[in-house]
Structures are given as structure tokens and as C-alpha cells.
């Protein structure tokens, strides 16, 4: 009953390019952000339960391991945001040709790195 249909792309012979890596990274960051959003729920629950719980939450979140996760989370957030805007332009019918796909791809890489570094510089100077 079920026919085996050909699947593409054929990953074993597929040469990765900037555009394909950015495409899969959009899904990857989407999945990561969905899981990471639980941190936000823990944050709001900790606030609801009062100061003691919040202090405990702060202690855990200020551990270098949590901060590393948060750093990854912010990069994922800015990447998904930038590339999401790129996708919305595509959906509206703009920038589909190869040249502009590469230009917007480069812009996405630049803006997500720039926003991540900027965010953590602000956090660093605000805390210290």
C-alpha cells in the first residue's frame, strides 16, 4: 500500500553550503529555543514563589555552566530572529535568487553574532 518515494536531499552525497547550513540551523535553533524556553518558565515560577526561591534560581543561573547555556540560548534566539525575518521576506516573495540568498545569509550570520556579543557585553558591564 505504501510506496517508497525518493527522498531528497541525499545527505551522503550532499555538499554542504552556507545556505543549507543556515537552513538546518534554523530548525536546530528552533528546537533548542523551544527546550530553552523552559528556563523562562522556571524564572517566572521562581518569581511567583517569592524571594527565597528567586535567590536560589539566581544562584543556579549564575553558575558558569548555566551562563554557557544562556550564551548559547541568546545566540540561538538572535539567529532564529534574524533568519526568521529572512524567511518572512522569502515568504513575501523577495530575495529568492542565489545572489541575494547569500547576501542575506551573510547578514544573518553577522547580525546574530553581533547581537549576541553586544548583549553579553551589556550584561557584563551592568553586573560589574
Amino acid at each position: 500500500m505504501k510506496r517508497q518515494r525518493p527522498l531528497s536531499p541525499h545527505l551522503q552525497i550532499y555538499k554542504p553550503q552556507l545556505t543549507s547550513i543556515l537552513s538546518i540551523l534554523h530548525r536546530g535553533t528552533g528546537i533548542g529555543l523551544s527546550m530553552g524556553s523552559v528556563i523562562l518558565v522556571v524564572w517566572i515560577i521562581a518569581l511567583t514563589f517569592g524571594k527565597e526561591t528567586y535567590v536560589l534560581y539566581s544562584t543556579v543561573i549564575n553558575h558558569w555552566l548555566s551562563l554557557t547555556v544562556l550564551f548559547g540560548f541568546t545566540f540561538g534566539l538572535f539567529y532564529h530572529l534574524s533568519n526568521g525575518i529572512r524567511h518572512l521576506f522569502w515568504d513575501a516573495g523577495y530575495g529568492y535568487d542565489l545572489k541575494h540568498a547569500y547576501i542575506s545569509g551573510g547578514a544573518v550570520v553577522f547580525s546574530s553574532l553581533f547581537l549576541t556579543i553586544l548583549t553579553w557585553l551589556i550584561i557584563y558591564f551592568k553586573v560589574n
Binding site: G30, S34, V38, L40, V41, I44, L47, G84, I122
Partner: protein, 128 residues
């Protein structure tokens, strides 16, 4: 006989049409929630940096502002809608076992719904 075949074909076409419309509605809602997330994410990350790292009292005070509470409720609601619709597409693309697909789709929506309700309730409790 001929009539029967025609009727069958008509049924098939109508079934496909309704499937197609369903897919289109999902596609549209995913984009609309994506557009809504753009200002919400920018607002939230900048507020987070400027206010929330200051500690418990400032965070509570921030949440008692009706505009911030409204923004946060919108953020949580749309975030979990967007996350569920994105994860749904990923599951539909990669999970080929029919039973596993249905179970994971239901589970994703359930978890997203619970997390959304829980976080919005927390915002309300702090605000009120």
C-alpha cells in the same frame, strides 16, 4: 457505475482540498505568530538586560507595570503557540512511524499548552 467513480473522485478531491486548506491555515498562523514574536523578542531581551538582572524587587516592580505584564503574557502565549507549530512541522518531516508521529504531536501540543497556561498564570499572580 460511472457515476460512482465520479463521486469517488469528487470525494477524493474534496478531501485533498480540505487537507490543503488545513495546511495553509497552519502555514499562515505560523507566519503570523512569527511576525508577532519579532517585536516581543526584541522588547523582552532589551528589558531583560536593563531590568531583570537587577534582582528580585526590581523584577517584581517591572512585572507590576500593566504594559510589561501584558507584553509578557503575549510573549508566553505566542511563544508556545509558535514553538508548538514549529515542532509540529519538524515531527511531520522526520518522524515516519505513524503511531509515534501522532503521539509526539499530541504530546508537544499538550506540553506547550500547559507551559503557556502555567507561565501566564504566574504573570497574573505577580501582577494582581
Amino acid at each position: 457505475m460511472n457515476n460512482n467513480i465520479m463521486e469517488n473522485k469528487l470525494n477524493k478531491v474534496q478531501a485533498m482540498k480540505s487537507l490543503k486548506n488545513h495546511g495553509l491555515a497552519h502555514w499562515k498562523l505560523q507566519r503570523i505568530s512569527a511576525i508577532a514574536m519579532v517585536p516581543l523578542v526584541i522588547w523582552f531581551t532589551s528589558s531583560l538586560m536593563l531590568v531583570l538582572i537587577n534582582g528580585y524587587e526590581q523584577s517584581i516592580e517591572w512585572l507590576q507595570n500593566p504594559f510589561n505584564a501584558t507584553g509578557l503574557i503575549l510573549l508566553f502565549g505566542i511563544l508556545y503557540f509558535h514553538a508548538a507549530s514549529g515542532l509540529q512541522v519538524v515531527i511531520e518531516d522526520y518522524v515516519h512511524h505513524e503511531g509515534l508521529k501522532i503521539v509526539s504531536l499530541i504530546l508537544i501540543k499538550l506540553v506547550a499548552f500547559v507551559l503557556g497556561v502555567l507561565s501566564i498564570l504566574c504573570v497574573l499572580k505577580i501582577f494582581l
